[in-house]
Subunit: 194 residues, 2 copies
DNA sequence: GAAAAATAAGACAGAGCTGTCCTATTACGG
DNA sequence: CCGTAATAGGACAGCTCTGTCTTATTTTTC
């Protein structure tokens, strides 16, 4: 009944395109439509039939990223247990998003200002901000850090860990361990003052 | 006598172009030659007379970045004093490079593999690697981290701090303090094991 | 102030990407 | 098995960027 009553074929092709696009664009955000079509094993004309514009494709990718990102956050159940553990789960969940994270990161650092991503995120609440503020409030996170700083650094560490692993400069497991350890140590409230 | 016996005028124009290019390209690495020329207050034809190719311009920028980066590293005197202090000085020195850092970061994450930058860096030794290994050897840095990890994380934190400051999401001083504190805490050898 | 150096301004062809369109095949579903 | 849906493969014009050139104009420099 919905407008989205696509035939199985269409849905499958659409997925293939979106997946290929994330992969290709995460490596080079200026990749041409041809390259994306090739990566999806689809003719360029087909790609354009699914997404008339490049802009339209990007928007769909952002929506997709938001959907998967939200799912990851849901799964991390950030409101359960100590903030320290929650943010640990979040790091793992984000890390698993892989190239999708790279795509978003690059996409967002383009028009820094009010990217549609943030508007759409705000519209559905931001559990990340909540857990950071919870940790600061209950003393599990170092009060010397602003929430903004923690959010930004968290992304930077998780993203760049992914980068390190994805181009083979470090093995997955050691990198993940180091990532968690880094976040944990950096955020920890110091027993003996600095 | 040298081939580089440029008139003062040429040297000045060249500098203006290089500076403008760093600024523009650090914000968008696909900026056109026209945009760069405009930013340098120079006709596009003039730009092309100084740098025939885009490739030639980029190469000059990389050389420039290496020169300034090396100077910064020199100034940080990484071989003096405790490794912890040395890496702290290095962070400040790199931070001061500003947009030049952004340019390099973006440039390097393009053709990840064997970018000319690394070749040229190797040719002149890498004090960063030395100080990291020194810190690991003498127990000032957490032995749970590989040198590769420390190097990568260090860059990620410094760079993303610059990013945070440069687009006005955080004030300079608090950001720098947080950056140093983060690096210090992350690298510190833990008194009581994890 | 005159010769030389450097620049601005713009014309130009070649290349690549984009978005649209059309036609011949191929795959799907009833 | 037949009709429909979906695709592949190209042709096409419009656009932007690039690199090269040429010709005036301005700025140094002596």
């Amino acid at each position: 009944m919905s407008i989205e009553a696509e035939s199985g074929t269409r849905a499958r092709t659409r997925r293939a395109i979106l997946d290929a696009a994330v992969t290709v664009l995460s490596e080079r955000r200026t990749a041409s439509m041809s390259e994306i079509a090739d990566a999806a094993n689809v003719a360029r004309s087909t790609l354009h039939r699914y997404f008339a514009d490049r802009a339209e494709l990007i928007e769909a990718l952002v929506d997709n990223a938001i959907a998967r990102g939200s799912a990851a956050v849901q799964e991390a159940a950030l409101d359960k247990g100590p903030a320290t553990d929650a943010i640990r789960r979040l790091a793992l969940a984000y890390f698993d998003l892989g190239p999708l994270m790279t795509f978003l990161w690059q996409e967002l650092s383009l028009d820094q200002e009010d990217h549609p991503f943030w508007q759409k995120m705000e519209a559905q609440g931001d559990p990340m901000t909540e857990v950071v503020e919870r940790g600061l409030a209950d003393g599990s996170f170092d009060p010397a850090f602003e929430a903004e700083w923690i959010r930004h650094m968290f992304w930077a560490v998780v993203f760049s860990t992914w980068e390190l692993v994805s181009d083979g400069r470090m093995a997955r497991q050691p990198a993940i361990s180091a990532m968690l350890r880094t976040i944990e140590k950096a955020l920890a409230t110091e027993a003996a003052g600095a």
